[in-house]
């Protein structure tokens, strides 16, 4: 390698030397023929289908913002169109809101339990004679409350809503007409009328005594069961005595269960008020 030249050799000079690396002339003739055949095949052959996809992706990437905005608009429109628009009512100054806001008025119109009912509720236990009377008082209080709820509340609603909305006006008029047409509507309750309720309560009071009556064993069966253990049961006198004793016992049991049942009926009535 010669080192004694006066010219300074730089890296740019060395790189530029690569410019001199050129193919021979015959290379270009081959190059031209090959590119001609490739060009013809490119004209004849269709481009594969995925080139269209890649082109679409490129276009989408170039215009992401408009496509995104258009998609959001389309989704919003579809949501509104197919799911249904939210029911927003524009309220005019003179018009009152619909009947829904009157629910608190209905709730507030329900009267508080009356004093006898509270007294009955706070009393822990009562004698048997007073139990039925107290129960009837409680039933009456409950019935009065429910009847006043059903008779007074719609009237209150109608009076409150009358100046507010034509729709509530219509409801109030309809309810008033219905009350005039059917006067016994006021005495009806959601639990039924008084006359419907009384047999139900009576049946509830009576029914628990029947299983006890059914549980009373027959005399023959009793003697058959007790004969191996108590030989006295085999005689007729002792058998009669035993049957008397059992009868008295069963009647006292029946009274006891009946009193317990009244207590349970009282509790059921207290539960009804709530």
């Amino acid at each position: 390698m010669k080192q004694d030249t006066e010219r300074k050799i730089t890296i740019e000079d060395l790189i530029r030397l690569k410019k001199s690396e050129r193919p021979p002339a015959e290379f270009w003739s081959r190059f031209e023929s090959e590119i001609r055949s490739k060009q013809l095949s490119a004209i004849v052959n269709k481009r594969p289908w995925w080139h269209g996809i890649s082109r679409a992706v490129m276009v989408f990437n170039r215009h992401q913002l408009p496509f995104g905005a258009a998609a959001a608009l389309a989704l919003t429109w579809m949501g509104v169109h197919y799911m249904g628009a939210p029911s927003i009512r524009v309220s005019t100054p003179g018009a009152a809101p619909a009947a829904v806001p009157h629910t608190p008025a209905v709730a507030s119109s329900v009267p508080a339990p009356s004093a006898p009912a509270i007294a009955r509720e706070e009393r822990p236990q009562a004698p048997e004679e007073q139990g039925a009377k107290a129960a009837s008082h409680a039933e009456a209080a409950v019935m009065a409350a429910s009847a006043s709820h059903l008779t007074k509340a719609p009237a209150d609603i109608a009076l409150d809503a009358a100046p507010k909305s034509p729709f509530s006006d219509g409801i109030a008029v309809t309810l008033a007409d219905y009350r005039q047409a059917t006067p016994d509507f006021a005495r009806r309750s959601v639990f039924g009328t008084d006359s419907e309720f009384e047999p139900t309560a009576a049946a509830a009071r009576q029914s628990p005594s029947e299983p006890l009556a059914r549980m009373d064993p027959a005399e023959e069966r009793r003697s058959r069961l007790l004969a191996p253990a108590l030989p006295a049961y085999s005689s007729a006198a002792t058998r009669a005595l035993a049957s008397d004793w059992m009868r008295a016992r069963s009647s006292s049991d029946a009274r006891m269960y009946e009193s317990m049942d009244r207590g349970s009926n009282d509790r059921m009535l207290v539960g009804f008020r709530f």
């Binding site: 390698m1 010669k2 080192q3 030249t5 010219r7 300074k8 050799i9 730089t10 890296i11 740019e12 000079d13 060395l14 790189i15 530029r16 030397l17 690569k18 410019k19 001199s20 690396e21 050129r22 193919p23 021979p24 290379f27 270009w28 190059f31 031209e32 090959e34 590119i35 490739k38 060009q39 490119a42 004209i43 481009r47």
Partner: protein, 211 residues
């Protein structure tokens, strides 16, 4: 014309480039109009430059020939999408560089050198070779061959992006702005890559940098 305004922005190079770009656009419009034979003029005009870029990036003449042909075919197939927003040669270079980069990344583990011979009919290269050696005949040829291999070896030690920047700037003579357009990066990135690549090449070719 819209294309001319864009060219003023992208081409920082000489006014000859602008005239060249306008002439290319005219030919492209013909091809887009259905004159397929007009594309041959573009091939004839740019084939050496495109091949030179690809060859200096791959250091393999067979791969360079195939990739150059593919670049022209891709440009031909996509000629209808060319709207004149950049100059045709920038667009063609971008296709060629992208194809080459994809090829190099795909065949990262396979690299064979297949070098062209250095032609000394160029006075600049002859003067350079004379400056580097006083040998004649076989000794000179072997020295040139050794230098050529060292140059290609040093180029291949660069990363693909650094190699591309060096090729486009030092060998093909594109401006920083044009290289940024071709490589789809900023001018600062081009300058940074060029500076770093030259440092690496200087370290590799230190024995040949003589006074």
């Amino acid at each position: 014309m819209n294309a001319s305004k864009t060219l003023e922005k992208t081409l920082v190079a000489s006014p000859e480039r602008k005239l060249e770009a306008d002439a290319d656009l005219e030919i492209v419009r013909k091809v887009q109009g259905g004159d397929v034979a007009a594309f041959d003029r573009l091939i004839l005009k740019y084939r050496e430059r495109v091949l030179g870029i690809i060859y200096n990036m791959t250091s393999n003449r067979e791969d360079a020939a195939d990739l150059a042909q593919d670049a022209f075919i891709k440009a031909f197939q996509s000629i209808n999408r060319f709207q004149g927003q950049a100059s045709f040669f920038t667009w063609l270079y971008r296709i060629a560089v992208n194809s080459t980069v994809t090829h190099l990344r795909k065949n990262r583990m396979r690299s064979f050198f297949s070098l062209e011979s250095v032609r000394e009919d160029d006075p600049v290269s002859r003067e350079l070779i004379d400056a580097l050696t006083d040998k004649t005949g076989a000794g000179r040829d072997s020295f040139v061959r050794e230098l050529q291999e060292k140059l290609n070896d040093a180029m291949q030690k660069l990363s693909i992006n650094h190699r591309t920047v060096v090729t486009l700037f030092e060998i093909d003579g594109l401006s920083h702005q044009e290289i940024a357009e071709v490589m789809n990066c900023s001018v600062g990135t081009v300058r940074s890559r060029l500076h770093y690549a030259k440092q690496l090449l200087q370290a590799e070719l230190q024995p040949y940098l003589l006074k």
